[in-house]
């Protein structure tokens, strides 16, 4: 079977497991809604228009909530040594990484869209004339995020500190994603012309590609015993 077949097998298995256990998607989804509720109480809507700060709120909710889900990437793998079965198979380690990252991406992107929908509902947001571009920005940002998150989740799962170590390892590296992602989203929500957003999307894309490449190369050293 081809390399892609192996990646797909892992992607499919992770999504199937998530469907069965609903572990992570429930946690992330609940987080999204509850965060929206808390934000409502933490913003003085007479002083600040939610439309103006929505981009930042959406991305930060995505980062914090996403970390919850990504942090448990290897949780089910640890049960009964299942991951050992994967690592001793002929599947290359980078294929394993890509499969897991792809699965995390699907989960996170669903949650991202949920966050936007929830916040649009709670704060009466207008998504601007190019909602598809907003979706694209979220997709590129999510991809970079899950790539780094999957790599370092494999690291943190093997330490005492576990998931509490993950923000420390990942947040500094996420700065470019936050900067370009929020900027692109804010401009789109404010109905700025697409030309102003193109550069940000390119940088988001570059970040995503770099994150996936670095993760694919370094993953084998992380899972090695």
């Amino acid at each position: 079977m081809t390399y892609l077949g192996q990646v797909y097998a892992i992607l499919w298995k992770d999504l199937l497991l998530e469907l069965r256990t609903r572990e992570r998607v429930a946690a992330m989804g609940a987080f999204a809604v509850l965060a929206g509720i808390l934000f409502n109480f933490s913003i003085d809507q007479t002083a600040v228009r939610p439309q103006d700060i929505a981009a930042g709120l959406i991305w930060m909710t995505l980062v914090f909530g996403g970390l919850l889900g990504v942090g448990r990437t290897f949780h089910l793998e640890a049960q009964d040594g299942a991951f050992q079965g994967v690592l001793t198979s002929p599947t290359p380690k980078d294929a394993v990484f890509l499969g897991k990252t792809a699965a995390n991406f699907v989960l996170l992107y669903v949650v991202a869209l949920l966050v936007v929908a929830v916040f649009a509902l709670f704060f009466g947001l207008r998504l601007g004339t190019h909602p598809g571009m907003v979706a694209l920005a979220l997709a590129l940002g999510s991809l970079g995020f899950v790539a780094l998150g999957t790599l370092f989740s494999a690291v943190s799962s093997n330490t005492h500190m576990g998931e509490t170590l993950l923000p420390i390892l990942v947040f500094p590296l996420l700065v470019p994603m936050v900067i370009y992602g929020v900027s692109a989203t804010a401009r789109l929500l404010a109905d700025r012309p697409i030309a102003e957003v193109a550069g940000n999307l390119r940088m988001l894309g570059a970040f995503a590609v770099l994150a996936v490449a670095v993760g694919a190369v370094l993953f084998r050293y992380v899972v090695e015993e």
Partner: protein, 230 residues
């Protein structure tokens, strides 16, 4: 056994660096001219900038040694990386202490999100991650590999972080623009800066070599102890 020569070289470099640092302080306080716009407080620049140079140079060493360590698996490369990381973190802390001090006295605020200082703050956390991951892993070999991954990922991301932070700053300029170099650099100031750069680099290299030989020796002792028990 790490050669005696390394240790001696380390001592020589450290002493030279220390002497240079003393000379630097003399120059900073007594010789170099006062900068026109910012006044006396600007002199902290001669500590601040060389520290920043060493902080990032050290991280480059960390990343390079980490990459080759993962490739070749030679223990000594990891010892070099972790030794450089220790020195690097110290100098990063110096940057983060001198920067806000300068800002507070010169402009009244401790922190202004100046791009380079922001990058240094993030670098400090990457260093923190490097050490935390080593310390909290049961299997020491895996811990070394983990920290190598942190070093490499960090080094690859830093240029991107820098780009993004500078870009962000260009959109949201704060009223006070901190230009570490000042509008122009008088030749005497340049000399002082060079002395600072050289001394701090020598000091770092000396400390690095000493730390490295210590790490190598510690490892050898542990290995020999284990062999004696068997």
């Amino acid at each position: 056994m790490p050669s005696k020569r390394l240790q001696t070289t380390g001592t020589v470099l450290a002493v030279l660096g220390a002497l240079g640092t003393v000379a630097l302080h003399w120059m900073v306080f007594f010789w170099t001219p006062t900068e026109a716009t910012m006044g006396v407080i600007q002199r902290i620049f001669y500590i601040h900038v060389p520290s920043a140079w060493v902080a990032f140079f050290a991280f480059g060493v960390v990343a390079l040694c980490s990459a080759v360590y993962l490739w070749l698996g030679d223990e000594r490369l990891d010892q070099a990386a972790s030794s450089a990381a220790e020195g690097g973190m110290v100098f990063t802390t110096i940057v983060l202490l001198t920067g806000p001090l300068w800002g507070r006295i010169a402009w009244g605020t401790y922190w202004t999100w100046e791009p380079r200082l922001t990058l240094t703050l993030l670098l400090w956390f990457i260093y923190l991650g490097y050490f935390l991951v080593r310390a909290s892993t049961d299997n020491p070999e895996r811990g070394k590999r983990f920290s190598a991954v942190v070093g490499i990922a960090g080094a690859l991301d830093i240029p991107l972080i820098h780009l993004s932070v500078v870009w962000f700053r260009s959109l949201h300029p704060t009223p006070v623009v901190m230009k570490p170099e000042g509008p122009t650099l008088h030749p005497d100031m340049l000399v002082t800066l060079m002395v600072g750069l050289l001394s701090f680099t020598l000091l770092f290299l000396g400390l690095f070599l000493h730390r490295y030989t210590l790490a190598a020796a510690t490892h050898l002792v542990a290995v020999r102890e284990r062999r004696a028990q068997a």
